[in-house]
């Protein structure tokens, strides 16, 4: 299995982003996904900047993939997507059907992102015809789904599973960070930059539940499939996705690398694995 560094979901300063990826270039990951997948208003790095960063990181000898926005609404967002796809030098992770269509029209192979809604082999077969070469399972899909796909007659593409990080659960036109701060989205002041791991949301009983990240809602807990290493291998997962977080990412990568190299599953460090086990995502179920 290979390790991938998933796209950065948070809004960080340009300096922080560049420093993060300078460091990441030295981490033992095989694939780095770059790009803004949450909110097109975040412009510390423009699409051009992300592409330039991709060029720089090529020297690190990692596979570089450009990730597209999950929720594309405005014409300007579609133009940015066209630029991302049009570059042609990097594979693109298509996170909505707009991206799939633009890639398909150009005959370019692509990675299918976790928000594409692929739930069965017939859907996957169609996307493979369109150029899909790798598929990142949706957040709510786990072991049973992979076994279902394996039981079909479709020659499966590379399968990538989210193995670490807060899960991207929902996307809206509304900015929840701006709402929490009592700001209109159009005058948001880019305040999500103040929350490099998102803005925590608790229940009225004080239990951690969700994380607000602009127009995206994430889990509060971090998914951790490190302890499920043997199962991931047994069902033929090809890549493990680790989502960036503000601190301690080098250690996260090192933990997974060590596990893959030694073949010994690490003890649990994150809080959740429910989706892998076919139950509520917020749960942690040890076998």
């Amino acid at each position: 299995m290979r390790l991938t560094l998933g796209p950065l979901q948070y809004f960080w300063s340009r300096q922080r982003v560049l420093a993060f990826y300078r460091e990441a270039a030295g981490w033992p990951v095989d694939v780095i996904y770059l790009g803004e997948t949450v909110c097109s208003k975040r412009r510390e790095l423009t699409t051009r900047d992300w592409i330039a960063l991709a060029e720089e990181l090529l020297a690190s000898d990692r596979e570089i993939v450009l990730s597209s926005l999950a929720l594309t609404e405005a014409e300007s967002e579609l133009s940015a997507l066209t630029r991302l796809v049009g570059d042609g030098r990097f594979r693109v992770e298509a996170n909505d059907m707009s991206a799939v269509q633009l890639l398909r029209e150009r005959g370019l192979p692509f990675v299918g992102g976790p928000t594409l809604n692929v739930y069965n082999h017939a859907a996957l077969r169609l996307l493979i015809e369109d150029g899909l070469q790798r598929w990142v399972l949706g957040v709510e899909q786990g072991r049973a789904e992979i076994e279902g796909f394996r039981a079909s007659d479709v020659v499966l593409p590379e399968l990538e599973v989210i193995a670490w990080g807060r899960l991207p659960l929902a996307f809206s036109a509304r900015c929840f960070t701006a709402r929490a701060l009592d700001l209109a989205k159009d005058e948001c002041g880019f305040r999500c930059i103040d929350y490099p791991n998102g803005l925590p949301l608790q229940t009225r009983e004080g239990a951690a539940f969700l994380t607000l990240n602009g127009v995206q809602v994430q889990s509060a807990g971090r998914c951790d499939l490190g302890p499920e290493l043997d199962e991931l291998q047994a069902v033929g997962v090809d890549l493990l996705r680790l989502y960036p977080q503000a601190e301690g990412m080098a250690e996260v990568v090192a933990r997974f690398r060590c596990a893959l190299d030694s073949g010994v599953a690490p003890p649990r460090a994150g809080e959740e694995n429910g989706y892998w086990r076919g139950t509520a995502g917020m749960r942690c179920v040890d076998q």
Partner: protein
């Protein structure tokens, strides 16, 4: 080739029905088409006691067709590989019973419908999350969709621009409960309960809901042991869905995602018509016959009024009052159509 639709002479009114009496109420009160689902998880309102047996549907189609109205069958959840044959069989049943269109989101289901029953129209469900002309082109080229229902994330200006691209006829939500996330992209119910709108056709399943009476008359609503909201004595308490709960963010207790409210677009009807929107959809297959009758009647009156006197459009106060009565939390909003909502 797809025929342009901008010359369509009037917006169609598409109404929900979760039961045969609701279907009759929709037809009798002026729906152009009624959308329904089977009694299983193939549709996104898979609630106990709701929806249509094959015999119900046959009778409903006969009733509608006798009055020159249409019936659409929603097969708009996503099938796992293991269950795909059930969805395909549902497509065959809808075709055999004489449905006028299927409302689907799953690529595998759309593909099956297009190949097996090319004469049966396919509409892209809101669960398909298509928000751009590029995405619409995909579904048109791949599956020959005849219409697409837009997710409730676009502003009115974005709806207008999308219509101007003239890729496929567009259906938008006009009234009803407001999903605030891009439909088909929301795992909040799934995250808390393991049951999702995408897979099981249910948001916030009743079996995971628990009400607790607190001292002093307050009531707490739990979803799989997650406290969604706590209501003071006498405070109206809505059904606990994750996106409409009250939570603590930055030390304050707020409706962090959305308040209990419903979408109401009567104010926007002239703009939607001018944009070339082909059809208006009323949400609410889980609602009763009275809701369907009232909302259908008001929207029919509004559309007829708009047609007779398009200038100086003002929705009647009585319409707005009655719609508010059927709204969540008795309040309505223009929702994402209006930029300030974002």
């Amino acid at each position: 080739m797809q025929v342009g639709f901008r010359g369509v002479d009037r917006m169609q009114l598409i109404c929900p029905a979760g039961s045969p009496p609701a279907l009759k109420a929709a037809v009798d009160n002026g729906a152009d088409a009624v959308y329904v689902g089977f009694r299983d998880q193939t549709n996104a309102r898979a609630f106990p006691g709701l929806n249509f047996t094959d015999a119900d549907l046959a009778a409903g189609i006969e009733y509608a067709h006798a009055r020159d109205r249409e019936i659409y069958v929603a097969l708009n959840t996503y099938a796992s590989s293991a269950r795909l044959n059930q969805w395909r069989a549902a497509v065959d049943r809808a075709a055999a019973l004489g449905a006028d269109a299927l409302i689907c989101a799953d690529l595998g289901v759309l593909d099956y419908g297009a190949r097996r029953h090319p004469g049966l129209r396919r509409h892209l469900s809101v669960q398909g999350s298509a928000t751009t002309h590029a995405a619409l082109r995909y579904y048109r080229e791949r599956f020959g969709i005849a219409r697409a229902v837009l997710p409730r994330v676009l502003s009115i200006e974005q709806v207008e621009r999308l219509c101007a691209h003239d890729v496929v006829p567009i259906e938008v939500f006009a009234f009803g409960s407001l999903c605030i996330m891009a439909e088909g992209r929301c795992q909040l119910s799934s995250y808390a309960t393991g049951v999702s709108p995408n897979r099981q056709g249910v948001c916030s399943p009743a079996r995971s809901v628990r009400w607790v009476e607190e001292p002093g008359g307050a009531r707490s609503a739990y979803l799989n042991e997650v406290l969604i909201d706590r209501f003071a004595a006498g405070e109206p308490a809505g059904y606990p869905v994750v996106c409409k709960g009250r939570y603590v963010v930055g030390g304050e207790t707020i409706h962090a995602l959305e308040e209990p409210t419903s979408l109401n677009t009567l104010d926007l009807l002239p703009r939607l018509e001018k944009a070339g929107v082909a059809a208006l959809k009323i949400e609410g297959r889980q609602r009763g016959q009275a809701y369907v009758a009232d909302v259908t009647r008001i929207c029919r009156q509004a559309l007829d009024r708009l047609r007779q006197r398009p200038q100086d459009w003002t929705p009647q106060a009585s319409w707005q009052r009655e719609l508010a009565r059927h709204a969540e939390g008795r309040q309505t909003t223009l929702g994402p159509y209006h930029r300030s909502w974002h």
